[in-house]
Amino acid sequence: MFNVDALLKSLPIMGLGMLGIFIVIGLIMFIIWILGKAFPVKKDKQDN
């Protein structure tokens, strides 16, 4: 019932998946930072 081979094959997917998420999220954080710098509130006088 237990498939050790499948487990071992899935471990790299786990690692790549978590790495991928942090990379994409890091990129999005960077974009938010850039947007915040490029379009500050004072510029268009609107806030949230």
Binding site: L27, G36, P40
Partner: protein, 375 residues
């Protein structure tokens, strides 16, 4: 007279008795929806659908030698091609205010960390003997996001679409029960007492409008398979934030989301015919779904604790648990737990930022699973 009862008399109860179990399951889902207010918009149609498709020789689904049943027609038109979950994403995108996230982007890290349960469950399901496509479909229950679960499981043509969707929506409704227990196990009282002053930063309208467009482009460039999921979610958000399509935004949030949810719940029931549903694997999937939610929560909390080692201004690790996509239940749970520990500790806005980022991260996780697993 005999003709009137011919259908009833033709039922072979020795082989058809499991349908009675499905009637009971359907009844339980309706009970949970009506009496316990657990995801009623979905569990009620699913419960009714479970009864509808498990009636003897039900004309709602395709029978051998008969014309195609209307629920199967709907399934092929809206779920087999992943259309319904995507349409629902427009509504969800229109409902989400990314403001707390845009003003406090570091909370996005918790959205990433709280997807750990997905990948842990993928490995566990593989270890337990599920094929990789089914393991991936089961793991995505941990996205705590019904449309993503449907999208991914349908993309992989999983054999367990029905149980996966039931598990996804059931556990989302059980977030207020599952998360506090896991959070308490993973944190000390001292950690739960950490106060986090809220210093909101204002966000320009231009930023709010550009955000969904740029995120869609990034998703399209780096994970093309996720672009449908991300794009529809962000399109809904763009309608909300642009300021010139308020009536469309309202329609997407209410009429579109309600209508698609209604059809989705009823249509999914075609996969709840007892032949497909009453299997040992269903119980295993329910168990694995719970594991996914537990490890998502633990992933977010433990990541916050790790960050605290390096931070001068400490983060309340409970906020990490809000990184799952179950919005807004998870942020409310964290906020309530914070108030229970210290009536002056207001964590809602921090938790909401983490929770909204969980919505994005869960979709990204779904896209990554589609990219990493080739079938």
């Amino acid at each position: 007279m005999a003709q009137l009862f011919s259908n009833f008399l033709n039922i072979d109860w020795s082989t058809q008795w499991p349908m009675v179990i499905m009637w009971i399951i359907g009844g339980v889902l309706i009970y949970l929806a009506v009496k316990k207010d657990m995801e009623p918009t979905l569990l009620l149609p699913m419960g009714f659908g479970a009864i509808l498709v498990n009636l003897p020789f039900s004309g709602a689904v395709t029978q051998v030698g008969a014309e195609e049943g209307p629920i199967d027609v709907l399934f092929n038109a809206g779920i087999a091609n992943e259309l319904f979950p995507l349409l629902l994403f427009i509504g969800i995108g229109a409902m989400i205010d990314f403001g707390p996230l845009l003003s406090n982007p570091k909370m996005m890290l918790f959205g990433a960390a709280a997807q750990f349960g997905i990948f842990f469950t993928l490995s566990l399901a593989s270890f337990l003997g599920f094929e990789i496509k089914d393991a991936a479909s089961i793991a995505i229950i941990g996205a705590a996001d019904g449309p993503t679960s449907i999208f991914v499981s349908q993309y992989f043509k999983s054999n367990y679409v029905g149980p996966i969707i039931i598990a996804a929506y059931s556990y989302m409704a059980l977030v207020p029960i599952i998360q506090p227990a896991v959070i308490k196990i993973c944190t000390t009282k001292k950690e739960r007492l950490i106060r986090m002053p809220y210093k909101p930063k204002t966000v320009s309208k231009t930023t709010k409008i550009l955000f969904p467009i740029i995120i869609t482009m990034v998703a399209g460039i780096f994970a093309p398979k996720s672009v449908a999921l991300v794009g529809f979610l962000m399109f809904g958000n763009l309608i909300r934030e642009c300021g010139v399509l308020n009536s469309l935004s309202e329609s997407a949030q209410h009429e579109l989301a309600n209508l698609v949810t209604l059809l989705l719940g009823l249509t999914v029931s075609t996969k709840m015919q007892w032949q497909y549903f009453l299997r040992w694997e269903t119980l295993m999937i329910m168990g694995l779904g719970l594991v996914a939610f537990i490890f998502d929560t633990a992933g977010g909390v433990i990541f916050a604790k790790i960050l605290n080692i390096f931070l001068k201004e400490k983060i309340n690790p409970m906020v990490g648990a809000a990184g799952i996509s179950a919005f807004p239940m998870s942020s409310r749970v964290v906020h309530k737990m914070g108030l229970e520990e210290d009536p002056q500790n207001f964590l809602l806005m921090h938790a909401a930022a983490a929770n909204v980022s969980g919505q994005i991260a869960s979709v990204v996780a779904g896209g990554l699973i589609l990219t990493l697993i080739q079938v």
